[in-house]
Structure formats: C-alpha cells, structure tokens
Amino acid sequence: MEKGISALWKEEDWWAVWLGFIIIGGALLKWIPSIPKVGKWSSNPVDAFMIIKDGIVSGNIFLSLVLLMLALAVLTAIGVAFMRNENAGKYIMGFIGVFILATIAYWIANQINVKYWGLSYALWALLVGLLISNTIGTPSWLKAGAKTELFIKIGLVLLGAEILFKKILSLGAPGLMVAWIVTPVVIIFMFNFGVRVLKMSNKSLIIIIACATSVCGVSAAIAAAAACCAKKEDLTLAVGMTLIFTVLMMFFMPLVIGAIGMNSILGAAWMGGTIDSTGAVVAAGSMLGPDAEKVAAVVKMIQNVLIGLVAFFIAIYWVTKVERDPDCEPNALEIWYRFPKFVIGFVAASLIFSFIVVPAMNGDFNLVESTYIKPITKVLRGWFFCLAFTAIGLESNFKDLAGRMEGGKPMILYVVGQSFNLILTLFVAWLAFMVLFPNAI
C-alpha cells in the first residue's frame, strides 16, 4: 500500500478515479463522440453490428468498435504502466483479446429471445471466460490484459454519473420507505445471519450476497465486492446466484400476486423492492398492468440510487472493523490509507451529476441523460463491466468456486435472506402504500 503522495499515480484506486473522470470530463466537454454498442439482433447475427434506422441499414459499427478498443487499450495502458511498471505493449495485446471476448459476450446477450429471459451480458461474459480458463487454460498473453479490478473500479466511477440523488423523491414517502428502509435492514440481517448463525468464514462473500439480494443484484454485487476488496470467485458466486434467482422471481412473483388477487400497486412495490435486476422488475411489473409496471420500475430505481451509499459504508466498515488490526485502534490517517479511493470517485461523480450538472441544465434530467449519460458514460460503464466479467471468467476455475461453497452455506444465506426480504418488503409496502399513504398513487 502506497502511503505517500506517490499513491496518486501508483495505486489502482486512484487510477480508476483519474481515468473515470477523464471520461466523464470528456463527455461533459463534448470531446467524446457517441460510444458504439453491440445492438439487438433476432435471426441475423450480423444485425448486432449494423446501424439500423427505420428498418434500413445505414452503416455498421465495426470501425468504431476497433477505435473504441484501441482508445480504451491506450487509456488503461497508461495507468497499468504507471502502477505496476508493466510492459504496456503486452498489456495492450492482452486487452485486445479480452475486448474481443467481451464483444462476443455482448453479441450473445443481445439476441432478442435471450433478452426476454432476462439473461444479461454479465452471465455470458463469465461463461465465455470460464470456458477458456477451465479447458485450455488462459494463455499468459491474454491474462496480461485481464485487469479485473481496474475495469470494475473505472466502471463504478462511471456508474456514479448514473446515480442521480433527486430521483429518490420520484415516488414520495412510500417509495422511499420501501426502497430505503428495507434495504439496510436486510443487509444487516443477512450479514449477521451469515456470520453468527451460518458461521461463514468468508465475510466478503456474505456482504456481496447481502447487497446483491437487497439492493439491485449484479451492480450492487460489483460495488460491494470492490468496496471490501473481495476475491473474484466471491463475486462470481454471488452473481451466478442472483442471476438464477432473478429469472425465477420474474417468472413466479407476478403469478403469485395475480393468483392471490393482491392489489397491483402493492404487488408492484413488492416486486420493485425484491427482484434483483431492473429489467426483470419491469417485465414482472408489466404483467400486472401499465401502472404497476411504472411503480415497480420506479421503486427499483430509487433502490438503485442506494448503491453509492452502500459501497461507501461497506468500505468504512471493512477498514474500521473487519480488516482492522485487533491490537491497535486505527487512526484517521490509517483509515484513509486503507479506504478504497475509487469509492470517493464513485460518490463524487454521483454528487457532481446530481447537484451541478442537472441544475446547470435547468433540472432537466432527461436532457442530462440523453446528452451525457445514455450515449457515453452508461455505454462505457457497460463495456468496463463486461470486460471485468470476461476477465473474472478468465481468471477463475471451477475448483476454487466449489471450494467457496462451504457446504452450500452461500445458497442457504441467499434463500433465507431473500425470504426475509420478501416478507419485510411486503409488510413495509403494505404499510406505506395501503395504510400510511393510500392516496399517494
């Protein structure tokens, strides 16, 4: 751990902040053009790389994808070269390999029928990486480009731009109650259950599963894992579980709500507070009707905003409690040295967009989103997360993953935690939407 001023150019966390803010600054100054993304396709796989407007092909994204790959390779190579004195040329070669695999994962995930199932790029990126690492083994030239932590941290700094605080008021008090009261209670319950009842030794895995269950699935798992410096295998396990349960909950919750004749707004709030990923929440909410779809999506959105705060508090808790030296009380300076600095970048990006950029554009969220976030920071964040999951797959093996199962305890933790989440969210949603604020919607 670097303790002097040199940490600013030697530590990965600081590089994630610098690189993240170079991208955000470039977006705000309009120096960065629209970022290419792999598109949806149905029966013709090539459609994913075509620019299609009103059913007519007007070009393709091959050249812009190559340019994006080179730009990201060079940008991140600067950080890698400074941090570890690694050979930048070797890193760039490896990065190109990882980027191509990430593009394949995106391409698979963007098949239209696959999207209807709710299977995101994270799953496919992991599978593509795992396929290589567990069969022929990841070649060393490819490993040189698999900088998982750096990709995750840059992605999280960019994610900060999407976390707009004023969105928490979108549904008023009942929305806040469902999303912001239940979530921390479930995290604390699951952490204590994992540590005290299940006696799981891996606290990082517990907190990642707790955050994935109670906040918003994969994205929360990534933020929690980075905040507590968890092992890649822990993140892989948690993400695998959350992806499976998200699909199951998307399938069954609307059926249960319909079968028992629950009020659709109450059901929507319940699903918004419990189903892990936003896409699955929208799909499940839509089953209950257009109003329910809106309420479910907005409850989930309010919960999404919690990611930054949760990551911040996990980082503080880990530095001061979990990983502290039992023989000495940590002082403020020690806490600062060990605090994951990228979290500051994450929170700062969120605050800048929430309280400077949005007000500077007359409070027009839609304009901010359509000018800076949707075409630039969101797409790049997606690329960095996809690169990270591909890299995790390339560096993981099934033996290590099996070793982390501790006799199925993580699965028990997820099931018990999610059951508690379902009961508590239903109670708070009923209290908020039916008893305390029945006329809110």
Binding site: K40, I108, Q111, I112, N113, V114, K115, Y116, W117, G118, S120, A122, W124, L127, V128, L131, I132, N134, T135, I136, S140, E162, K167, S170, L171, G172, C216, G217, V218, S219, M250, F251, P254, L255, S277, T278, G279, A280, V282, A283, A284, S286, M287, P290, D291, K294, V295, A297, V298, K300, M301, N304, F365, N366, E369, I373, K374, N439, A440, I441
Partner: protein, 94 residues
C-alpha cells in the same frame, strides 16, 4: 508459458477436446434461449408476455431500461392525479 508449452501433446489434445465440448455446450445453452422457446402453461406466461410486448428483461440498472423516462413520467402523472383526487375529496368534505 513454459509450463503450458511443456505439457505433453496428449494433455494438450485433451484440453482442446474439453474446450470444444464446452463450446458445444455453450452453443446448445445459447441455442435453447435464443430459439424463442417458452415453457408451456403458467410457467411460460411471463416469457410469452415479454415476447408479445417486446420487453427486454436483461437491464441491470434503471438507466439501461429503454423507456425508463416514460415510466418515470407515468409515475409523476399518477401522483399528480392522486393529489388532485385527494384535494377534491378534502374540498368536498369541507
């Protein structure tokens, strides 16, 4: 790197065999989901609803949902309507 190249030829052949087997499994897994199949009866109800209404269930975060601004606007209008309704009730009581 040396270790890798130092592997016996039979081991390397076995690794590649495993890779192609895994690749076929991944292709079959993908093919299953991409085929447009949906489980019969109530189990496939949500999936059929997604297919019929072109609902993308894969976004991880709210910003990735294509029509999120419309959903937010919808909630804003619902709240305004509810406030007007409540105001009318209070006024009628007075």
């Amino acid at each position: 790197m040396k270790k890798k190249y130092g592997k016996k030829k039979s081991h390397r052949t076995r690794d590649w065999l495993k890779f192609f087997t895994g690749l076929i499994m991944l292709a079959v897994f993908f093919g299953f989901f991409a085929s447009g199949y949906s489980p019969p009866g109530v189990l496939g109800k949500v999936l059929r609803h997604n297919q019929a209404n072109d609902i993308d269930a894969s976004p991880l975060l709210y910003m990735e949902v294509e029509h999120m601004s419309e959903l937010e606007e919808g909630v804003r209008l619902m709240r305004e309507k509810a406030q007007r309704r409540t105001g009318d009730t209070v006024r009628s009581l007075l």
